[in-house]
């Protein structure tokens, strides 16, 4: 079973979300997602300062097999991008919750966070997807 961290929020499209101490919101893909994708070979990062809506596709992760869109979990402005994953895409496989983060958002409010999945809800979501296979 893939690792699901309790201190993170998740989306049904398998992004994880963390609110950092500086108020920025870090986004990556879950362990479940990286495991399902397989070897990540290319990451297309968003542009810094770009304004994004919730559920807007903002980045692309390519595995050997397929390209997958990465969606903004909440509305905001792209504050930082992780250049390291562009140089070494395998970081998404090796450390999805750490060095494999993709971008950080600056958000106006944390209100829409209530719509995101908690760890337990996300676990149920992954189990349901597993059973579909």
């Amino acid at each position: 079973m893939s690792e699901i961290r309790n201190n993170l929020r998740y989306t049904s499209t398998h992004e994880w979300i963390r609110v950092d101490e500086d108020g920025l919101v870090t986004v990556g893909i879950s362990d479940f997602a990286q495991s399902a994708l397989g070897d990540v070979v290319f990451v297309e990062l968003p542009e810094i300062d770009g304004e994004v809506d919730a559920e807007q596709d903002v980045a692309v992760v390519e595995s050997v097999k397929a390209a997958s869109d990465i969606y903004a979990p909440v509305a905001g402005v792209i504050a930082e991008i992780n250049e390291s994953v562009a140089e070494d895409p395998s970081l998404l496989n090796a450390d999805p919750y750490g060095e494999g983060w993709i971008f950080k958002l600056r958000v106006d409010s944390l209100e829409s966070f209530d719509d995101l999945l908690g760890a337990d809800e996300y676990q149920e979501h992954c189990q349901a997807e597993d059973q579909d296979h």
Binding site: G38, D39, F42, E44, V64, A67, N93
Partner: protein, 356 residues
């Protein structure tokens, strides 16, 4: 459908996918690791979904000369093999295959899983209309284990306890009832073993103990694409001729007397001009996929197979583009235009870059 190794694949935690109605392993762990295992050491593939068909009878040669685009009379000795295609009347490709000469008037062809039913319908239809003295025997009782890589022959000799030194590339032999062909779909040396369920399970276990790495369809795809080999149904189908599919070399004797299904259409296409070609594209900074649009200085085309090459570490693709196209091209990737270069496949041979 399931191969006899299905439970073993599941035990090995393979990601299973459906392919042509079969539950097949896509990858056991990392596709890239499996790919490198085959390029540098040895890997094995369960390809039991493919269908061997025996063609026997006093007029087998005549029948195959009619059905296949390549003349089977060029198979000078028992055990020799050649790559060919079955064409329809329009010169379109019904399937590609390897045909082995087992003995005088005895042949074995191996059909793609996705095309096997249509192939058999077509072959039987051809038999009814030609009345040759031939028996068609699909061998669902036979499985196929492909062991591929620079160390494949060494391991196969140890496991099977035979010498394969006399079995040349692209030929086959029989050993204790097991059919062993020095063929494959990876661009590496190796063998394909045709055997019963019991033997398959035993061989898999023995090769696994030797350290031969189980490989899935994912690695099979990156390996064949690096080697510049077509995938039937993706790079070619019933609407494309061998001339438009990068395999004009299978058509060796259009001027000769032998008639075969599709010959008239091929001659006509040769006279009237062949509009497209299937060739290679290399591109850095993104990954090409099947269906992406290609723009060249002489018109548009389409990517038929694309991937990330684990050996070269950039994207490689086969694409059907205007015949005169060369040099640089643009590939549309997620509404953005990326610069690629038209090159002649193969991309990799024996682990080294060979395209220019």
């Amino acid at each position: 459908m399931k191969t006899p190794l299905h439970d073993i694949h599941v035990q090995l935690k393979a990601q299973m996918v459906e392919f042509a109605g079969w539950q097949m392993p896509m990858r056991y762990g990392s596709t890239i690791d499996e790919h490198h295992a085959v390029r540098n050491h040895a890997g094995m593939f369960d390809v039991s979904h493919m269908l061997p068909v025996d063609i026997t009878g006093t007029e087998s040669t005549k029948f195959l000369q009619h059905v296949l685009a390549t003349d089977v009379r060029t198979l000078a000795e028992d055990g020799h093999a050649l790559y060919s295609v079955i064409l329809n009347e329009n010169g379109g490709i019904i399937d590609d295959l390897i045909v082995y000469r087992l003995a005088n008037e005895q042949y074995r062809i191996i059909l793609n899983a996705g095309a096997a039913t249509a192939d058999l319908d077509w072959i039987n239809q051809q038999l009814r209309s030609t009345h040759f003295e031939v028996k068609i025997n699909p061998r669902r009782d036979l499985n196929i284990l492909a062991v591929q890589g620079p160390e494949a022959i060494k391991f196969a000799e140890q496991v099977l306890n035979i010498s394969l030194q006399t079995v040349r590339r692209f030929s086959a032999t029989k050993f204790s009832g097991i059919f062993i062909a020095r063929t494959g779909y990876t661009g590496e040396d190796g063998i394909e073993i045709l055997c019963t369920d019991e033997v398959l399970l035993k061989l898999w276990e023995q090769f696994h103990c030797k350290g031969v790495v189980p490989c899935g369809l994912g690695a099979r795809d990156t390996l064949r694409l690096e080697a510049g080999m077509n995938l039937y149904g993706q790079d070619m189908d019933t609407t494309t001729t061998p001339f438009e599919s990068g395999i004009a070399w299978v058509i060796k004797d259009l001027a000769a007397e032998r008639d075969f299904v599709g010959k008239t259409a091929l001659l006509s296409q040769q006279r009237n001009g062949i509009p497209t070609k299937l060739t290679g594209i290399v591109l850095e900074g993104a990954v090409m996929r099947s269906g992406y649009e290609v723009s060249t200085s002489v018109g548009k085309g389409i990517v038929t197979s694309g991937t990330f090459s684990p050996t070269l570490r950039y994207s490689i693709a086969l694409a059907r583009i205007p015949r005169a196209a060369k040099g640089e091209c643009e590939v549309t990737i997620r509404s953005k235009s990326k610069m690629g270069r038209i090159v002649r496949p193969p991309f990799v041979r024996e682990g080294e870059r060979v395209h220019r």
